[in-house]
C-alpha cells in the first residue's frame, strides 16, 4: 500500500525538524545563560534525532539506496521540503524562542495525529516525537510568557518576533494534494485540520504573555515545493560542507 505522496510527505516532516534543529544548534555555546544553552541544544538534538528517523524512513520508502545522511547532506536547497519558518536565521533569543513555541505547538498536534498513522513505522516515530514536542512546547511557552511579560525590552523583542514570524505560520497549515492523499489513506494528517486548535493554544499563551497577534492576512509560502528563502542555501552550505568535502568519512 504505497503512494507517490509518501516520500514527499516524510521529507516535509523530516526537513522541518532537521533545519530547525540545525538553527537551534547554532546557539550552542552562545546561549544567554549556561542552563538555557544546554536546554536549547537538547531541543536541537531531539529534533535532529527525529529528523534522522524520518529521513531514514523516507530513504527506505524511496528505495533508491539513499539513507538519512545522503538525504541530509547531499540534497540542495531546492530539494528540501521544510516550511520557510524553520530556515529563517536564528535571530535574537526572543526570535528563537517565539519560533520554537509556534513550531512546537504545531508539532504536538501533528504528532498526536500521526501516532495513529496506518504506516506503523511513522506511528512509532510520532509517539517518540510527541513526548519530546510536549516538552519543547512547555519550555518555549513558559519563555514566551517570561519574555512577553518581562521588561520593556524583552516584551518589544518578543513582539517583534511574533510580528516577523506570523506571515510564515500559514504555510504550516496549507494542505496540498500530498497532504490530502496521505490523510485519505490514513497514513498522514491534513494540516488544515490542525489550524484551529493551534490558534486556540497559541492565542492563549500569547494573551498571557501580553503580546498581540498581527491582523494582516498575507501569508508567505513555498518551502513545501522547494521555493526557499535565500537563507536556506547559506545554512546548508555550512551544514553540508564537511560531508561533501570528505564523502564517506567516518569518525
Amino acid at each position: 500500500m504505497s503512494t507517490p505522496a509518501l516520500v514527499p510527505y516524510l521529507l516535509r516532516l523530516g526537513d522541518d525538524r532537521l533545519v530547525l534543529g540545525h538553527r537551534l544548534s547554532e546557539w550552542c555555546g552562545h546561549g544567554p545563560i549556561l542552563e538555557e544553552d544546554i536546554a536549547i541544544t537538547n531541543i536541537a538534538l531531539d529534533l535532529i534525532g527525529e529528523a534522522a528517523l524520518l529521513l531514514k524512513l523516507a530513504g527506505e520508502e524511496e528505495g533508491q539506496g539513499r539513507d538519512e545522511d545522503a538525504l541530509a547532506y547531499f540534497r540542495d536547497a531546492v530539494d528540501y521540503r521544510n516550511a520557510l519558518m524553520v530556515e529563517l536565521p536564528k535571530g535574537d533569543f526572543g526570535f528563537t524562542i517565539v519560533r520554537q513555541f509556534l513550531f512546537s505547538a504545531y508539532s504536538v498536534l501533528q504528532m498526536e495525529a500521526l501516532q495513529r498513522s496506518k504506516l506503523e513505522a511513522l506511528g512509532g516515530i510520532a509517539a517518540k516525537a510527541l513526548k519530546e514536542s510536549r516538552y519543547h512546547l512547555r519550555h518555549s511557552a513558559q519563555w514566551v510568557i517570561t519574555l512577553g511579560d518581562g521588561t520593556e525590552e524583552s516584551h518589544d523583542r518578543a513582539q517583534r518576533a511574533v510580528d516577523e514570524l506570523w506571515r510564515y505560520t500559514g504555510e504550516l497549515f496549507a494542505a496540498d494534494e500530498v497532504d490530502r492523499e496521505m490523510a485519505a489513506i490514513g497514513m498522514g494528517v491534513d494540516p488544515s485540520t490542525l489550524a484551529e486548535p493551534w490558534q486556540a493554544q497559541v492565542g492563549e499563551v500569547v494573551l498571557r504573555a501580553g503580546l498581540t497577534v498581527p491582523t494582516h492576512e498575507y501569508m508567505q509560502q513555498g518551502g513545501r515545493v522547494g521555493r526557499h528563502t535565500e537563507h536556506l542555501g547559506h545554512m546548508l552550505a555550512e551544514m553540508q560542507i564537511v560531508a561533501r568535502s570528505h564523502p564517506g568519512a567516518k569518525w
Binding site: 544546554i38 536546554a39 517570561t146
Partner: protein, 109 residues
Amino acid sequence: MAEIPRTNSQHSTSSDDSQWPLWEVFLQPPKGQPHEHAGSVHAATAEQALQNARDVYARRGEAVSIWVVPSRAITASTPEDMGPFFDPGNDKAYRHPQFYKVPHGVRVF
C-alpha cells in the same frame, strides 16, 4: 555581648553577579528511593528551575521526580560549627544504639 551566630547560606544568591537566583536540585532516582541532592541551577522562576534541572541533571532518565528549592531558603552549618555540632557525639557512647539488646524476633526479621 554574645556574638550572634552566623548562619551561612550555602551559596550566595545576592546580586554580586548578573546571574539569576540559584536553586538546589534534588532528584529521586527510580525505585522509590529518597530525593538526593544533585547540584544547582540558575533560573528566574520555579518552573524554569524545574525545567533547567531536568535538562542539566535528568535528561538521561536519572530520575522519576525532581525538587527544586531556592538556595537562599537553605540554612547551612558553617565550618566553625564543626566542633560544637558534631564532635560531642563521638565520646558519648550512650548515644549510639549498640548497647541495646535486639530482641530475637526483630533480629530474624
